[in-house]
């Protein structure tokens, strides 16, 4: 084939591409079928959320935070409330803390179920998508019965939560997590030893732990590379230190491990929810907080572990009722930044699998 002329060429993946989970554009430099260089182009969903927050009171910012990362909006409410509570020195009632933990973990399960479905669908298996969304629906019903919303909850507020649990919540929550526990066997049976799944994911997209730390990669993606780091345990917030659970890690750092770790985490979340339901105390659900409270001048960075890694909010107050600066930091931002450094030298079809396994959500990147 000596006379055949070859050259590198550029392919645009996205912004409207089913596997980019939003509007992300990847400019790929290709050598035949092999990806040589990736350049992410973002900003299609930039809505200036941080600027909007500067013109609103702290309580009015909470619905904005829902739009930041809508798949786990509870975590966004939580991290936002935490930052404001630390600024103003607000103590949260015991019952509210328990309710928060239950909601956060339910939301984590719901998010991982979406991950399970859409990742499999990106790689070409349709059935897991139907399974994942069916079980997620049961969790969304729990949220709907509590706060009336299915996606953007505005439920966790500075000082506590907005509404108490309805009396049928606890039994229905117990039956839902028991059901999900049982269905997990189906999930594992569908994919864990499926030869096509193994061929598409095993050894694909190896992420070195050193590279992951250098680029600030966090959450399940970091732990799938063998780094034992979870904010719930290592920088404890709320009441996570009271429960008996363990941080899951996987050693290989490939797409298959990034998939397995999500299933591991669902099991741990179920464990936490069971304990929180057992220990749920009676009492107040909200501390007395004025709607236009003015925290004293100061600043802090609050962080929680959500299903996509570290979710952080920096908040600076000057003593007014509106924040001087709000900065939101999402896990997807760093994961996408790291992608060009480990996602190359593979087929374009593998890149789809790698991208899906990072579980990136674009509103969090663009804000």
């Amino acid at each position: 084939m000596g006379g055949l002329k070859t050259e590198e060429f550029i392919v645009n993946m996205g912004p409207q591409h089913p596997s980019t989970h939003g509007v992300c554009r990847l400019m790929l430099t290709m050598d035949g079928e092999i990806v040589k260089k990736i350049e992410p182009v973002i900003g299609y969903l930039h809505r200036a959320l941080e600027k909007i927050c500067e013109n609103r009171t702290y309580a009015q910012c909470i619905p904005i935070s829902d739009r930041f990362e809508y798949v786990t909006a509870m975590s966004c409410n939580q991290v936002f409330s935490m930052a404001a509570e630390r600024l103003a020195g607000i103590e949260i009632p015991e019952r509210a803390e328990y309710i928060r933990v239950i909601m956060l973990e339910l939301n984590r399960i719901a998010s991982h179920l979406i991950f399970y479905g859409v990742t499999a669908m990106d790689i070409g298996a349709l059935t897991p998508f139907l399974y994942g969304l069916r079980e997620r629906e049961a969790i969304i019903d729990l949220f709907e019965m509590t706060c009336g919303q299915r996606l953007t909850y505005n439920y966790i507020r500075p000082g506590g939560v907005s509404k108490d649990l309805p009396k049928e919540f606890v039994p229905q929550c117990r039956s839902t997590i028991a059901m999900i526990k049982e269905k997990l066997n189906d999930y594992e049976g569908l994919l864990n030893e499926n030869p096509i799944w193994l061929a598409r994911t095993k050894g694909v997209g190896y992420l070195d732990p050193k590279l992951a730390i250098a680029y600030g990669v966090s959450g399940p993606v970091l732990r799938a590379s063998g780094v034992d780091y979870d904010i719930r345990r290592d920088d404890p917030y709320s009441i996570y230190d009271r429960f008996d659970w363990k941080v899951c890690t996987r050693p290989n750092g490939d797409t298959y491990d990034r998939y397995l770790i999500r299933l591991d985490e669902i099991k741990q979340s179920i464990k936490i929810i069971e304990q929180a339901l057992d220990g749920l105390p009676e009492g107040n659900i909200k501390a007395k907080v004025s709607p236009n409270f003015k925290p004293p001048a100061g600043e802090n960075y609050a962080r929680v572990e959500n299903s996509r890694g570290e979710l952080g909010t920096y908040m600076q107050s000057t003593g007014e009722k509106k924040p001087l600066r709000v900065k939101m930091r999402g896990g997807s931002f760093c994961q996408l930044q790291a992608l060009p450094h480990f996602g190359t030298e593979c087929f374009i079809a593998d890149l789809v699998a790698i991208f899906a396994s990072l579980d990136i959500i674009l509103p969090e990147v663009d804000r």
Partner: protein, 156 residues
């Protein structure tokens, strides 16, 4: 490592270059002079008793009098957290890039350059990021910038 131990370690290693501020509400908050930035960052990352290898976040703040650049770091080994900020005057808003120390700083600095107009020196890719490619309407995160047609909400 507890917060007190961390504070002692910082005083020991970088006491003359980092000043503790009392505005931090949860984690330690320091101020660093602009000329010491790279030296402080190197020590924070490479010194074994500090080992801040995990770059979480950085961003600009406009206080109407000056710019602040805030860095949030964590250590995976010691499980500690630290924040520090560099204060920049309005008329010479430029700062050294820290991406040679933490590669993850790249995009955060790019965002800061674009939204605040803070010039980042020795950065390898200062190009349009979140805003449109042909954006020419200034730096939207600055306090004196309002969107065209923006009407402020009435005070409650």
């Amino acid at each position: 490592m507890t917060k007190e131990q961390l504070q002692t370690a910082i005083t020991e290693k970088l006491g003359d270059k980092m000043t503790l501020l009392d505005t931090g509400r949860h984690d330690l908050m320091y101020e660093v002079k602009r000329e010491n930035l790279l030296e402080v960052c190197k020590t924070l990352k490479d010194d074994e008793s500090l080992a801040f290898d995990y770059y979480l976040n950085s961003h600009g703040v406009d206080t109407k009098e000056k710019f602040e650049v805030v860095y949030n770091l964590a250590s995976i080994i010691h499980k500690t957290r630290i924040d520090f900020k560099v204060i920049l005057p309005y008329d010479s808003a430029e700062i050294e890039s820290v991406q040679t120390i933490w590669p993850g700083a790249n995009w955060f600095e790019r965002e800061m350059w674009e939204l605040y107009g803070i010039n980042v020196l020795n950065h390898d890719n200062l190009t349009r990021f979140l805003l449109a490619d042909d954006w020419d309407k200034g730096f939207p995160m600055r306090k004196d910038w309002d969107a065209p047609g923006f009407i402020r909400m009435p005070e409650l």
